[in-house]
């Protein structure tokens, strides 16, 4: 244990516990920054929803709630497995860690595939802002503008998350990353963050005003 610990130690640290604390502290600050990044989008949504309540009500009925709900379920399930990884890894539960990471990556990939199918159907319905947009009033285009940007930026984040999960999965499998490495916790934080963003996007883009 102490040997693995000293292998983890980097400059300028003299103490692994402190270094781990710093890694996760630094990452929390990064998440604060990410929250502000998405905050800009949420502001744009809030302002335009306020300006065009009717157009947003019309538009939200044209997103595909089936795909949206399936994807929500996928990500929530992946969060469960990520929690198992983040709790299991420091307790030296190797199998749990490896299987959990693989399932997370797989669920993330399925999410992107479902999203891709949904995008194709959206395009075939012409739900892309621009000339010939099928919905009235015009401001429905703003809703769909936000839909494409929000889901696109989220998908990009998820793609990065999947890559990170696959990398640490491989490194743990090859015993090149010790199970008590702070990297696993940090990737877990990122994964949960991306899930939580979806938890906000789902009601905004699929639920808000759909049945009213």
């Amino acid at each position: 244990m102490s040997e693995t610990s000293s292998a983890l130690l980097r400059e300028p640290w003299t103490d692994v516990t402190r270094q781990k604390e710093a890694d996760s502290f630094g990452f929390w600050i990064f998440i604060a920054s990410e929250v502000m990044f998405f905050g800009g989008l949420f502001l744009a949504y809030a302002v335009n929803h306020y300006l065009h309540p009717h157009a947003f009500k019309v538009a939200v009925q044209h997103t595909d709630i089936t795909y949206g709900t399936i994807n929500t379920a996928l990500l929530m399930t992946s969060s469960f497995f990520m929690t198992a990884v983040v709790r299991g890894a420091p307790a030296q539960m190797r199998r749990t860690t490896l299987i959990g990471l693989s399932i997370c990556a797989a669920l993330g990939i399925v999410f992107l595939v479902v999203k891709g199918i949904e995008y194709r159907e959206d395009i075939s319905k012409g739900l892309v802002p621009g000339a010939g947009f099928p919905l009235e009033p015009q401001a429905a285009q703003i809703f769909f503008g936000l839909y494409w940007i929000m889901t696109g930026v989220h998908a990009l984040h998820l793609f990065v998350g999947i890559c990170l999960v696959l990398i640490i999965d491989t490194l743990v499998a090859r015993r090149r990353l010790p199970l008590n490495s702070p990297t696993i916790e940090v990737v877990g934080l990122y994964w949960h963050f991306v899930d939580i963003i979806w938890m906000i996007l789902y009601p905004l883009l699929y639920l808000l005003g759909r049945w009213s």
Binding site: G26, M36, F37, A44, Q138, G145, I149
Partner: protein, 546 residues
């Protein structure tokens, strides 16, 4: 002078420094030493400073005559946009934090390095890449939107490389955020034993406050630029008024970053001022705790004043009233700082060295900039002078008079620590005076012509404003000489300057307790801090210079 150097030679023992830890290019480009990364940043932003300066020199020459004489309208617009974008994002925002912040933060808190040294190096590479992309965009096709990228000009009407320039600025944001995270984590986690929060030098507090703003404001700029690119490139209407979008929303998002960005630029300068004043007045900074609270108050309140940029943009009168009130509030902590700096000098034992001269001009110019900011925070006055040279003069007093003066003060104050050499102080004092003179001649007339109605960003203007423009351009030439001057005598000092010793100014602070230049690991032993900062009253005027 030669005698002194000869006399001192036997006392100078060669030691391993961060500069002698490898002489290859790779040892610099792959370094994770915060001191070397600071040097890399310094060289890069110096390049950007002179590129941005060159662009505005052409603009100032053009403005000598009321009609177009040197460049076309389009070229003129591209030149001031280049100046704005380069100076804001590639000089002012990174200026003091990435150079002096990087170099000094670990030294001042008694650490070996920043919390994430590799991230520190990566952020420099991101910065260079962002700078290259932006510079290419600005020079190859040009951008004519001004640095503010206002919609719908930037999304529908502007010619040129708006998308690429926005992408470059977007990328530079990653560098800012990474640096901010690094500094926050370093300040929290790597302070030496005994270095309590209430013993931190004010420069560290300033860098800490700046980092908070960097981390929380930069992503909002990134999102607003992303939406601009989406609208211009993919036709996604968020701000387009013809589909019901709101151009004012862009201004809100843009200024939610860009107003706090002013504090990213000025807070580190305030930190430098406190360090330099205490040292050359031989006194503890007056109201140390109040200084900390005012730094943090500026960082926090700075987030809620952005609406004062939109008094005439169609914002509701209630919003105007609130933003006006909040903008007056943010002046209070800034004024506390000015009073405390002045009080630090009071009954001090003052030595007028170059760094102090730069800081004296910082205080004067910052005060003028701040007071004219109060004019602009008042809605009726702002309606009169909005988008005139009055505004241009105001923010140049803060950013150039404030930040750049403090940058030069820091350069002269810590040069002996960074290089181990002393520069000729007479030349430096001459440079400081010339800078102040050139600055005043350049920007004071701009207040007058702005008040009389000269709009900003105009290529041709009524002949009545010509005298002011001629004076302003003459001042800009003096300023150009003053900025080039240190390049010569500082470079000279690298080879011929006398050895500085550990603490040539007899200053307090951990950075002065180690060798100049410091060794790679900063300190032989981790220092243990037992006293409060700025313990000047009890200093015995000893040190290795006496």
């Amino acid at each position: 002078m030669t005698d002194i150097t000869l006399d001192r030679l036997p006392h100078v023992e060669p030691h391993a420094t961060y500069l002698t830890e490898g002489h290859t290019l790779a040892s610099w480009l792959l370094t994770t030493d915060h001191k070397r990364i600071a040097i890399l940043y310094a060289l890069t932003i110096t390049g950007f400073f002179f590129i941005g300066g060159l662009a505005i020199s052409v603009v100032r020459l053009e403005l000598l005559t009321p009609h177009a004489s040197l460049v076309t309208d389009e070229e003129y617009n591209r030149l001031f946009t280049l100046h704005g974008i380069i100076m804001v994002w590639f000089f002012l925002v990174p200026s003091i934090p990435t150079t002096f912040g990087n170099f000094l933060l670990p030294l001042m808190i008694g650490a070996k390095d920043v919390a994430f040294p590799r991230l520190n190096l990566i952020s420099w590479y991101i910065f260079v890449a962002a700078g290259a992309v932006t510079l290419y965009a600005l020079i190859s096709g040009g951008v004519n939107t001004g640095w503010t990228f206002y919609t719908p000009l930037s999304t529908f009407f502007a010619n040129g490389n708006v998308i690429l320039a926005a992408a470059g600025v977007f990328i530079s944001g990653f560098s800012s955020i990474a640096t901010g995270i690094n500094f926050i984590a370093t300040t929290h986690m790597l302070r030496a034993p005994g270095m309590h929060w209430t013993r931190l030098p004010l420069f560290v507090w300033a860098i800490y406050a700046t980092s908070l703003v960097m981390v929380l404001a930069t992503p909002v700029l990134a999102m607003s630029l992303l939406l601009i690119v989406a609208e211009r490139w993919l036709g996604i209407p968020i701000f387009d008024p013809t589909t019901g979008g709101d151009p004012l929303l862009f201004q809100h998002m843009f200024w939610f970053y860009s107003h706090p960005a002013v504090y990213i630029m000025i807070l580190p300068a305030m930190g430098v001022a406190s360090e330099v004043l205490a040292c050359f007045a031989r006194r503890r900074v007056f109201g140390y705790t109040a200084m900390i609270f005012s730094l943090m108050a500026i960082a926090v309140i700075g987030f809620v004043v952005w609406g004062h940029h939109m008094f005439v943009a169609g914002q509701s009168p209630y919003a105007n009233l609130i933003f006006s009130f909040l903008s007056f509030i943010v002046a209070v902590p800034s004024a506390i700082k000015v009073f405390n700096w002045t009080a630090t000098l009071y009954k001090g034992s003052i030595t007028l060295k170059a760094p102090l001269l730069y800081i004296m001009s910082f205080i004067g110019l910052f005060t003028i900039g701040g007071l004219t900011g109060l004019f602009l925070a008042s809605v009726p006055v702002d309606i009169h002078v909005h988008a005139t040279y009055f505004v241009v003069a105001h923010f140049h007093f803060i950013m150039v008079g404030g930040t750049v003066s403090a940058f030069f003060a820091a350069l002269h104050f810590w040069w002996p620590k960074i290089t181990g050499r002393m520069y000729p102080d007479a030349w430096a004092r001459f440079g400081a005076m010339t800078t102040f003179l050139g600055f005043m001649v350049t920007f004071l007339p701009q207040f007058v012509m702005g008040y009389e109605g000269m709009p900003r960003r105009y290529h041709v203007y009524p002949a009545q404003f010509q005298p002011y423009h001629v004076i302003s351009t003459a001042g800009a030439m003096i300023l150009a000489v003053a900025y080039l001057l240190p390049l010569f005598y500082l470079t000279w000092s690298l080879r011929y300057g006398k050895s500085a010793g550990r603490n040539p100014w007899h200053a307090t602070g951990l950075e002065w307790t180690t060798e100049s230049p410091p060794p790679k690991e900063n300190f032989e032993h981790t220092p243990i801090v037992t006293e409060d900062p700025y313990f000047y009253e009890y200093e015995q005027h000893g040190g290795d210079e006496a």
